[in-house]
């Protein structure tokens, strides 16, 4: 319902807005055809077929070749892409998408509604756990004609539209995948999409090259001739490549946060921390509730109060990101600013632990917890070292154990940890990206579920209520309620709303224009002369 008329109008209005309101034109710079944009891709993904692989680097690079039905503005309004308009029935169950005309796949075949139906009902439902969870709500999905797709849901599901960005459900060519094993089909090695850039070459360990697709459906676009992603494994080498102009753009974790202050000083570079509104990654200290005394809410609250989040943002991340106030990021829908975790206060935290019956022993500690730093770069080790200091102030000894990404995923997935760090994408709506960490029905032996084992029937009921309510107002009530409970119970100790800086040469225009940052098609990006 929320998307029906409003969605249509937003769609009609924002297509020109997206192009016209872009920074470059506001500054009066006319788009320039031509040029090669060199960027970096870190770490190198195993395959670039979105859906088969959903890693961060794939989600950044693949949307140049693949598109979704829609994409999203920084305030998470849907913007038309392969769907030029859409309507929703008043009961929120029926969605009808009208598709763009004259869209071709990179191999010259026409794009039709059949591709959309295949992508939703077969490809992503088979491959992607995230899509599977949502698309099983679909009762029928049919191509009414070659340019119209009609979807009927079993029940109203308000965040449904959020699943149609390229990063969630990119539309893939039916003629290259249907009837084959999707993971091993030849197209996985040579991606074919509808996007503005077509796959040309991938020298593993060296670079990925994509070239302008001349039959792209937006007239006159894309502006760039070539996009090249260099694979540079060392973070200092990446910084050098950017500073020396050998690459023009860095994204995600290419650059370590502690290098950002120096890069801000360079007159030719721009540091942009926007473009993470759709993903809204939230970081937290992940607690295993099966380990005593982490099952005690007073302990968790005290630990949360001992952490100075402003210090983490300002001193460790150098101002990139902001302190978390609860389980929902402020950029995600249904965030409630009134539900806040208790403020930083070491004295009260100590008093809380004393009162809860965890006295300090002779050596000054109350108890010891094992802690696994997140093995995703030096910044996370620094964070864990800070946490060890913070916990020492309230008499909790953190025993740090280093590990690598493989062991980390295995141990968290198998619940073989006491505390660690984690960060999780919220995908725009608490039902899509927040619920999974807290409801007892999602306690699974795999990462990014409720691995902590938190269980509260009231929280389960409220998330379920918010999931199934059709009206935004009803959902807001349930989400506000659950946020109030969670900030008291602190099932995970939320730290910061993460953002990853996009650093680029000022010549590169229109880099961040949507809520998906660099995970967009780049059809409007150009290099000013």
């Amino acid at each position: 319902m929320a998307f029906s008329r409003r969605g249509l109008m937003a769609a009609a209005a924002s297509a020109p807005v997206l192009m016209r309101a872009s920074d470059a034109l506001a500054q009066g710079i006319a788009p320039r055809r031509g040029g090669t944009l060199q960027m970096m891709l870190t770490p190198e993904p195993p395959v670039l077929q979105i859906g088969v692989n959903q890693q961060g680097p794939t989600l950044a690079a693949a949307p140049k070749m693949f598109q979704g039905l829609v994409t999203f503005s920084p305030t998470l309004e849907p913007l038309p892409l392969l769907a030029k308009s859409w309507t929703t029935s008043p009961d929120g169950k029926e969605y009808v998408f009208s598709l763009q005309e004259n869209v071709k796949w990179h191999d010259g075949q026409p794009f039709t509604a059949d591709d959309v139906v295949f992508s939703i009902m077969k490809f992503h439902t088979e491959l992607s756990p995230r899509a599977r969870a949502i698309f099983t709500l679909i009762e029928t999905c049919e191509a009414k004609d070659p340019l119209t797709v009609r979807i009927v849901l079993k029940q109203a599901f308000q965040p449904f539209m959020l699943m149609f960005d390229a990063t969630a459900a990119a539309i893939v060519p039916k003629h290259l995948f249907d009837g084959r094993d999707y993971r091993t089909a030849p197209a996985v090695q040579h991606p074919i999409g509808t996007g503005p850039f077509k796959f040309t070459e991938w020298q593993r360990g060296n670079f990925v090259r994509m070239d302008r697709f001349d039959d792209y459906w937006k007239p006159g676009q894309p502006y760039l001739d070539t996009i090249i992603y260099r694979i540079i494994p060392d973070s200092q080498s990446r910084r050098l490549a950017l500073e020396s102009g050998q690459v023009l753009l860095s994204q995600a974790s290419d650059i370590e946060p502690f290098d950002i202050p120096q890069l801000r000083q360079r007159p030719n570079l721009e540091v942009n921390i926007k473009g993470w509104e759709y993903f809204s990654p939230l970081s937290w200290v992940e607690l295993n509730h099966r380990v005593k005394p982490l099952d005690d809410a007073r302990v968790r609250r005290a630990m949360s109060m001992a952490i100075d989040r402003a210090f983490i943002v300002n001193r460790l991340w150098f101002g990139v990101g902001k302190p978390a106030t609860g389980p929902v990021a402020s950029t995600t829908r249904f965030f409630d600013a009134d539900a806040k975790i208790a403020a930083f206060n070491v004295r009260e935290a100590n008093a809380l632990l004393d009162a809860a019956g965890y006295p300090r022993k002779a050596d000054g500690t109350r108890f010891t917890l094992k802690h696994i730093p997140l093995p995703y770069g030096e910044i996370w080790t620094r964070l864990s070292e800070y946490l060890r200091q913070a916990m020492r102030q309230i008499g909790i000894a953190f025993d740090l154990e280093s590990t690598d990404a493989g062991s980390w995923a295995r141990r968290v997935g198998n619940w073989e940890y006491e505390t660690t760090i984690n960060f999780v994408y919220q995908f725009g709506d608490p039902t899509l990206g927040v619920e999974r960490t807290y409801v007892s029905t999602n306690i699974q032996k795999v990462t990014f579920t409720n691995t902590g084992g938190y269980s509260n029937p009231q929280v389960d009921a409220l998330f379920l209520q918010a999931r199934s309510a059709a009206a935004a107002a009803d959902r807001q009530r349930a989400f506000s309620e659950v946020q109030k409970i969670l900030v008291q119970e602190v099932p995970q100790i939320w730290l910061t709303e993460l953002s990853f800086p996009t650093v680029h040469d000022k010549k590169v225009q229109n880099v961040i224009t949507t809520g998906l940052g660099v995970s967009k098609s780049f059809d409007d990006v150009f290099i000013a002369g």
Binding site: R183, R410, V412
Partner: protein, 328 residues
Amino acid sequence: MELSRLPGFLLRRGIKAMIVILAIVVCNFLLIHAAPGDPASVIAGQSGAADERFLAQLREQFGLDRPLYEQLWIYLKGVLTLDLGFSHRQQQPVWTLISERLPATLILTGAAFAFAIVAGVTLGTLAARRVGSWWDSVITVIALTFYATPLFWVGLMLVLFFSVWLEWLPSFGMGTVGVEMHGIDVLLDLGKHLILPAATLGLFYLAVYARLTRATMLEVADQDFVKTARAKGVPEGQVVRRHVLRNALLPVITFAGIQAGQLVGGSILVETVFAWPGIGRLAFDALLARDYAVLMGVFFCTSVMVVGFNLLTDLLYAVVDPRVEVEG
């Protein structure tokens, strides 16, 4: 060396080498599978969302749901027919992945190897000839410095000096990407990209060879046969080349044999710092991703190289010094 004994020698060593390599393969297999985590859990950890069905699907596809001894048997059968398996993570045969990356590593390590030997032996000879002079002191100090400095630091400093400050050489990669080039330009471009990583990798070995050559030359120079050569009026240049250097080369060859064995696997650090698309990084990434087949494939190639170069070194001994006999 009597040529008639060579075939028997090669046969005996060949059989030994096969046994050693098979033992290495089995050890590698067991060690790698002992590391916590598997490719499926790594992919789940990197995907941002996962469920148990996703894990089960991946494990089935990767063949991880079979018992370990069965996986080992399948792998051994493959290796015996020179089939290194398939990387399910990257959807490519392991041999394709390795052969794509092998040339880059061989170019880098080959260049570093040649540079280290030629420059190292020359500097060592020079220092030994003028022992005690300022030449000797300068060469010894330089050699010691490179010997004691960590590789990655040398690399970064070279980049700072030659790429950032002087802007003479590119700081990363194996070639200019996105520019059409032909013929000699491609080679020149490769050469420009090769200088810094090859120098970084070669400097340590250069120091070793220089010190080794200097020490053994001084030792040999005092021996009777050198005095005899001088006494019978052989010119000094010939004394050094024929009598001193040739005898002093044995330990250098030993060491070169060891270095050559590491040509495939020993350059992870330099490949990382200079973003050189070689096999060391392939192995490192495979380790982090628990891409078992790729990792074992690289180890297999490395162990074949080590065994092969050991054999070659033994043969070279006999060529340089006919008194050494080859024995199985």
